[in-house]
């Protein structure tokens, strides 16, 4: 943090805050604070606990331990609407607008905070009501002008573009005359131009001495706009300070791209892929809500290989796997497994065809035992009276993950994050898939366990299983993949062998930003080279 002579009372002060969900410690003992008129950015890889921390600050969750002070008042355990009354306004990752209201009316609802209208006053006192309406209208237009939505004021909120909806949320938040603005992933889903507009707006607001706290996976935007950056990983704060320093912090780079000298084994060349196409995806297009996530993504997986797709958070990786697995509708494009088309099949059918997805955040059945979870993995191929076969397969999974054997009858919800991930992978294998797809297996898991998991993946690969792995943790993928593609903003921007990509500066750039023409002078630090991979630690 830049040294300043007078340090006023911090706008937001988080002291030793922890939050646990079941067996997973989402946030642990986080402390940070920042002062008035600053923009504070909270970043961290997927699963680091950003959203949980944000929800703790905004009053959605109550912390298990620790104290949160906003503008000097203690707010942990205070309902969201009371926190808002303290002068805190927020936006949402998926804009939560009042669809049936016009743009101006959306802002006018925000104005209502000062004196929430009562039933009696609305039914009576017509003239006063009308006068206040007029005042509110003028005030709303002022806020709309500020975010540049003046011309849209009479349109319905639901007819706005995604970017405009974001701006409208900011305008609505401003209408409550906040002293602290909380922004939940403000840049997600925006085009480059829209992001630039947003950054300009945030700077403009800061100039008015408004404090802003934002979480964002688009690190380059945060680096660009924030005065103060807090970095989380595994629910803990790993770095804090000015963007410049944080950006060059090896711990941060490692958090994002993975450990370079980790225990993960090198690519084994003993068994080459056969060359036959296992999975081919052509020009996949998919939407989540109104937002286009996949923009004609094409890739393939060769039988027996590990294919990796890496990219920053929000690039569309999970949507890509979910679309292939049949969880999300495919708007356009073709998917084939071997010679069979799987497009348009529901998920429960796709798994029968031989594609098994280990979903993001694991999706284990928390109320069932570990053994029951594993057994259900074979549901797609279960044809009665095959219990013994299933039990044999469970034994195989236990052989891969000995830890699970000890936990066989434990409730899955009581497992730690890493153990749950092992369980999820084991469960995925139980389907005896022709293609195993893994969505961020390293998410929120301690490095030791990540290494363990990647060791198992390597074993599987040597056993001939085709694997498609999607990761934010690029370096760990480089360790085991035959080929890696980089997905950015719904497009595959490059594909190559790990060796090719490891030296490509564009990969780091895709994650942490860098030479962006619009960036300020301080933002042009040279891209961080990826350290050469350590020699393999063969089992």
């Amino acid at each position: 943090m830049s040294a300043s002579a007078v340090q006023p009372e911090p706008v937001l002060k988080v002291e030793g805050v922890s939050k646990r969900f079941g067996g997973v410690q989402a946030v642990s003992e986080v402390c940070f604070s920042f002062g008035a008129g600053q923009i504070c950015g909270l970043i961290g890889p997927n699963g680091a606990g950003k959203t949980t921390l944000f929800n703790l600050v905004s009053g959605v969750y109550v912390p298990d331990a620790g104290v949160i002070r906003i503008l000097g008042a203690r707010t942990d355990g205070v309902p969201a609407h009371r926190i808002a009354r303290l002068g805190v306004a927020r936006t949402f990752q998926n804009p939560q607008l009042f669809d049936a209201l016009t743009v101006r009316e959306n802002v006018m609802v925000g104005l209502a905070q000062a004196a929430p209208p009562t039933l009696a006053s609305s039914l009576l006192a017509f003239s006063r009501r009308r006068r206040r309406e007029e005042e509110d209208r003028v005030a709303a237009d002022r806020h709309l002008a500020r975010v540049g939505l003046t011309t849209a004021s009479d349109r319905m909120a639901k007819d706005l573009s995604f970017g405009e909806q974001r701006l409208l949320e900011v305008a609505r938040a401003l209408a409550t005359r906040p002293r602290l603005l909380l922004l939940d992933e403000p840049a997600s889903g925006l085009s480059q131009g829209e992001v630039a507009q947003l950054v300009a707006l945030l700077r403009d607001l800061r100039a008015d001495n408004l404090s802003i706290f934002l979480i964002e996976h688009d690190v380059s935007t945060v680096m660009n706009v924030a005065d103060h950056v807090v970095v989380l990983n595994y629910g803990r704060k790993i770095a804090e300070g000015a963007p410049q320093g944080v950006r060059n912090d090896p711990a941060v780079i490692e958090a994002y791209l993975g450990s370079a000298g980790g225990a993960a084994p090198r690519v084994s060349t003993e068994r080459a892929p056969t060359g036959r196409q296992m999975l081919s995806a052509e020009k996949l297009v998919s939407f989540r809500g109104e937002l286009q996530v996949l923009r004609e993504v094409s890739f393939d997986v060769i039988e027996g290989e590990v294919a990796g797709i890496v990219g920053p958070n929000g690039a569309g990786k999970s949507t890509l796997l979910g679309t292939v697995a049949g969880l999300y509708p495919l708007q356009a494009g073709h998917v084939r497994l071997g010679d069979k088309s799987t497009e348009g099949q529901p998920a429960e059918r796709v798994v029968q065809l031989g594609i098994s997805l280990v979903p993001e955040r694991r999706g284990i059945f928390t109320g069932l035992s570990v053994r029951e979870n594993l057994a259900l993995g074979a549901y797609a191929r279960y044809r009665g009276s095959q219990r013994q076969q299933i039990d044999a397969d469970i034994e195989n999974v236990f052989a891969l993950f000995p830890r699970l054997r000890e936990l066989a009858s434990a409730r899955a919800g009581s497992l730690s994050g890493g153990e749950q991930q092992m369980l999820a992978i084991g469960r995925g294998l139980m389907a005896r898939p022709r293609l195993l797809m893994l969505d961020e297996p390293s998410l929120g898991i301690a490095p030791r366990l990540v290494a363990e998991i990647f060791r198992v993946l390597n074993t599987l690969k040597e056993g001939g299983t085709s694997i498609l792995i999607v990761e934010q943790n690029a370096r760990s993928v480089f360790e085991i993949a035959n080929r890696v593609s980089v997905l950015v903003r719904g497009r595959i921007v490059m594909t190559g062998t790990p060796a090719e990509l490891a030296d490509d500066a564009r990969v780091v750039e895709a994650y942490l930003g860098g030479r962006r023409p619009s960036s300020g002078s301080g933002m042009q630090a040279p891209p961080m080279p990826i350290e050469p991979a350590a020699p393999p630690s063969v089992q």
Binding site: S58, P79, A80, H81, R82, A84, R85, A89, R90, F92, Q96, L97, F98, D99, A100, L101, E105, N106, M108, V109, G110, A112, Q113, P116, P117, T118, L119, S121, S122, L123, R129, R132, E133, D136, D154, R172, A173, T176
Partner: protein
């Protein structure tokens, strides 16, 4: 340009009022009374429309508040000798207070706790009506409730028709203006769109939900009072759990959120039963068809919800919206 809220509503109101006036002049006693009852049902259903539409909550006690209105007016006029209008207002206030007492603890919780609480409340009210014979007249009911007066005693169906529909349309208009043309209504519509965002603005969502529930109960109570003074005889079986269900059905069939939906729902159900009664004997003159009414009613409800999950008004809004977009060349 958007015309002012009130004048937009008048564009609906005037033709409805004219059509009703025409029916009021042309119709026979039966049609007039049927429409009087329908008018009262519109008031009661409108409350549910608001509650379901804006607070996203179900009340299974609408008939109980309807009963509170009717019995309150009965007790006020018959036992206490109050002026009927005074009794009506006091009863509505009382019903509002009862609703407040139910709403505060249940609406602070997330989930459909109001539905559970009102289920219990609705049935208990009905049992009390049956049991407390000295006050309520017991299961046979209470008689001798005076007619309302407006200078003169309103004795004819036609007079009552005019009164009820005047009150109904006035209440609908007030609700409509409240919802579409006031800062209060804006908050309600915000609540309907996103509870979490409304809360994030610093608005106490539970408070508004409670208020909508109170409004819903007050409307039911007003309907009940009008009912009691119209029939002059009331008994508990008019206010049972099944009646609460029927109000709910009419609200959902009509479409939620807009009180005009209540009008559409009540008229649709009334018209449907009437058509059934008229047409069924023509098709099968020798078969006693009356039992089929219940089947048909259930069928109508299920089919309506399958094909128009947003109710008739919702369907209409979407249709009209599509036309509007078409006209704009989009």
């Amino acid at each position: 340009m958007r015309p002012s809220t009130a004048s937009r509503e008048l564009l609906i109101l005037v033709p409805v009022a004219l059509a009703l006036a025409a029916l009021g002049v042309l119709g026979n006693t039966y049609m007039i009374s049927m429409l009087v009852i329908a008018g009262i049902h519109v008031i009661v259903t409108a409350g549910l429309t608001l509650l379901l539409g804006f607070a996203g909550q179900i009340s299974l006690a609408q008939a109980a508040f309807y009963a509170l209105g009717a019995y309150g007016s009965m007790i006020g006029t018959v036992h206490l000798g109050l002026n009927p209008w005074l009794a009506l207002v006091l009863t509505a206030l009382g019903s509002g207070i009862v609703a407040y007492a139910i709403g505060v603890p249940t609406l602070r919780l997330h989930g459909h706790y109001l539905a559970l609480a009102t289920l219990g409340f609705g049935i208990i009210v009905n049992i009390v009506l049956v049991q407390e014979t000295n006050i309520t007249g017991g299961p046979t009911g209470a008689v001798g409730i005076p007619r309302l007066t407006l200078g003169v005693e309103l004795t004819s169906d036609r007079q009552y028709f005019a009164l009820v529909w005047f009150v109904t349309l006035a209440l609908l208009l007030v609700c409509r203006v409240l919802v579409t043309g006031s800062s209060y209504g804006r908050v309600l519509r915000a609540l309907q769109a996103s509870e979490v965002a409304t809360e994030s603005i610093g608005i106490d969502v539970a408070r508004y939900k409670v208020q909508v529930f109170v409004l819903c109960a007050v409307l039911a109570s007003l309907g009940g009072s009008l009912y009691a003074h119209y029939l002059t005889v009331i008994s508990p079986s008019e206010f049972g759990f099944d009646v609460s269900m029927e109000f709910l059905v009419m609200a959902v069939i009509g479409g939620l959120g807009s009180v005009w939906g209540a009008l559409a729902g009540v008229l649709a159900v009334t018209a449907f039963l009437e058509i059934l009664r008229t047409v069924a004997p023509m098709i099968a003159p020798n078969i006693p068809t009356s039992e089929y009414e219940v089947v048909a009613f259930g069928g109508l409800l299920v089919l309506t919800l399958l094909f128009f999950p947003d109710g008739f008004m919702g369907r209409w809004r979407r249709f009209a919206g599509a036309l509007r977009l078409g006209a704009m060349g989009r």
